[in-house]
């Protein structure tokens, strides 16, 4: 089994408080998992704010480097990627999708630019036709087309469409791995499932592995293959997604699941009164 991504005992510490570094925060502590390359999967990282999931994402994307442990992509330690050529080669394989689709595009420029940029940079496309063909191919994978998107500005499009264009941009170099950090949390509910389902298609039809970072357990339940739950930088539970979410064992996981508001139970008259809540921490 060849590994696509190997995260080995990765840790990251932040110091704050001036020259003497009084305050030390272990944002990520001892995280360890691996993704295989033969079988693309949706690997979910669940955590609330402060859990370290975004820091972990940045380390996987090589935007920042771990203080402890190492991350290997296709057997190569990310710390050895220094030259611009190596960096570009890595970016061609690992691409991000960010949380805020509105901010992801320069409001003064048209959205197709980034697609063309990526096509020229990563795919070696030279002529205009080649560039546009690549962009169009990527857009079709997310259910759009270049004709629809060409020449449009970000404010002319909805959050869901923008996020789909952002995902298409990430797909232009045909990466092996997409790291999606809260990709649907700022999208309207009626458009959310379209994008979540699209991740499933990316995995099944196009063989892209996806690291899906979220705090929304419901969407995680729908599409994840495996997942890990992070609390304050450490992994508290991991395993096959359905198994973990149907029957969590760690107390934090249990609290997390209990806090999820059920939708089907709108018949509230039949329930007993809630006991008085404990004093807040």
């Amino acid at each position: 089994m060849t590994t696509l991504l190997e995260v080995r005992q990765v840790g990251k510490t932040f110091r704050s408080g001036g020259l003497f570094g009084r305050h030390v925060v272990r944002a990520v502590d001892g995280v360890d998992f691996a993704l295989a390359s033969e079988r693309p999967e949706v690997f979910t990282i669940i955590g609330e704010s402060g859990s370290g999931k975004s820091t972990l994402a940045r380390m996987i994307l090589n935007s920042t480097s771990p203080d402890g442990g190492s991350i290997l992509f296709r057997g190569r330690d990310l710390a050895t990627i220094r030259s611009r050529r190596d960096r570009l080669a890595f970016m061609a394989e690992v691409q991000p999708v960010f949380q805020n689709p509105f901010e992801a595009f320069n409001p003064l420029k048209r959205v197709d630019r980034y697609l063309f940029m990526g096509a020229r940079r990563f795919c070696g496309a030279r002529t205009r036709d080649e560039v546009e063909a690549r962009a169009d191919a990527a857009l079709r994978k997310v259910g759009l087309s270049l004709a629809e998107v060409r020449g449009r500005f970000p404010h002319e499009m909805s959050g869901g469409q923008l996020q789909r264009v952002a995902i298409a941009r990430a797909l232009v170099p045909e990466p092996a791995l997409v790291v999606a950090d809260e990709p649907v949390s700022m999208i309207d509910a009626s458009l959310r499932m379209t994008i979540v389902n699209m991740f499933r298609t990316l995995r099944d039809a196009f063989g892209v592995s996806i690291i899906y970072i979220t705090h929304d357990l419901a969407t995680a339940y729908t599409i994840s293959d495996r997942l890990i739950i992070m609390e304050k930088g450490r992994v508290v539970e991991s395993g096959p997604a359905r198994a973990v979410l149907d029957a969590p064992s760690h107390p934090y996981s249990i609290r997390l699941l209990q806090a999820v508001l059920p939708v089907g139970n709108a018949w509230r008259d039949e329930r007993p009164a809630e006991p008085r809540p404990q004093p807040a921490a």
Partner: protein, 348 residues
């Protein structure tokens, strides 16, 4: 997995409504360099909130719900203008038309009768002063009395809400987001207002913290007996908190009714899709979203604004705006097709 239980509550439908919004229209009207744009953010909205009830407003971004509550709280400025309709409160000391009052009168009812909880707690709490000074700034003039008496009242209020009065001495940045939001709610309710508007107060919070904040809101509502107008796009929150629910789409109210009824049997296709597209833990059903996107309010579709995305659309939907009508007692819907099905009438 246990469902979140709720205390029972009995809103009184017979008494006069606390808030009446009639045919409210609020548009952004902008002109620059010869370009005129009119964005119909709130277009002909009519609804009422009763005493002692939690009324939810659901809808996505650009549905107009935030503009609507800002208009209700008279917190809007040009280029957003009220173009028609009225907003009337029936407080204990008399009926008030929000837009007929002078700014001084509006200030007087703010916080004492009508208060506002917003999404960012840092919009309310002064970051460079301790929490106690925010309480003084907002509430002291309404509660009066000596400093000591005032802080005793504040401490008592906090204790009732399961908050430790020691937090008064902290700075906002020393507290977690959830704690700040709870304090914001305590601050908004200390004068025991009759009406509380809550604009996505839990949206930025983690699930565990959200649960605590919602519980606190329920507590307060029970204790003070105020009405809450709760705005959020999160349908799960509505299902677990509100008594009645109004669904907004593209600046219009498209469905309204008791929350249990709306979830049990949504009439409007948009509502139906909103509810059915929610993924749930524990079930394997494939859920899907709606095609298309919410319309541009500067140039909305003719007739029913939902018709371009609606799976049930017929030609009539493009021609005529469906009126918001009662199809079942207490359950109003604005949809030609739903009405035809409910009444058995033919669809012209």
């Amino acid at each position: 997995m246990t469902p979140a239980p709720l205390p029972t509550r009995r809103p009184s439908p017979a008494a006069a409504p606390l808030l009446e919004v009639s045919d409210l229209k609020a548009y952004y009207q902008m002109r620059f360099f010869g370009v005129t744009r009119e964005v119909r953010a709130v277009d002909d909205v009519t609804f009422a909130v009763r005493r002692n009830e939690i009324y939810g407003l659901a809808g996505e971004s650009s549905s107009g719900k935030t503009t609507l509550i800002k208009t209700i709280a008279r917190a809007i400025r040009p280029p957003l203008n009220v173009v028609g309709g009225s907003v009337t409160f029936d407080f204990q000391d008399g009926r008030r038309d929000v837009y007929a009052m002078t700014p001084a009168q509006v200030d007087a009812i703010r916080w004492s009768r009508l208060s506002y909880v917003s999404q960012g707690s840092m919009n309310v709490l002064n970051p460079v002063r301790r929490i106690r000074s925010s309480f003084v700034d907002f509430a002291a003039r309404h509660i009066g009395g000596t400093r000591q008496a005032f802080f005793a009242a504040v401490a008592a209020h906090l204790r009732r809400l399961s908050l430790d009065p020691k937090v008064l001495d902290a700075y906002p940045h020393e507290l977690s987001g959830g704690m700040r939001q709870r304090l914001t709610i305590a601050l908004a309710t200390i004068c025991r207002p009759e009406f509380v508007i809550a604009d996505e107060p839990t949206t930025a919070l983690d699930v565990i913290v959200q649960k605590g904040v919602l519980a606190m809101l329920r507590e307060i509502q029970q204790e003070i007996g105020s009405s809450i107008l709760f705005v959020t796009h999160d349908m799960a929150v509505h299902a677990n908190l509100t008594d009645r629910l109004g669904i907004m789409y593209a600046g219009r109210l498209v469905e309204e009714g008791p929350t249990t009824e709306i979830f049990r049997r949504p009439f409007h296709p948009y509502t139906a899709n909103l509810i059915s597209s929610l993924p749930r833990i524990g079930d394997d059903v494939r859920r899907s979203g709606l095609p298309g996107a919410p319309p541009n309010l500067a140039d909305p579709p003719s007739g029913c604004r939902f018709h371009p995305r609606c799976p049930l659309a017929v030609p009539r939907c493009r021609e005529a705006v469906p009126p918001l009508e009662e199809l079942e007692p207490g359950h109003r819907v604005a949809c030609h097709v739903a009405k035809a099905r409910a009444t058995g009438a033919a669809l012209s």
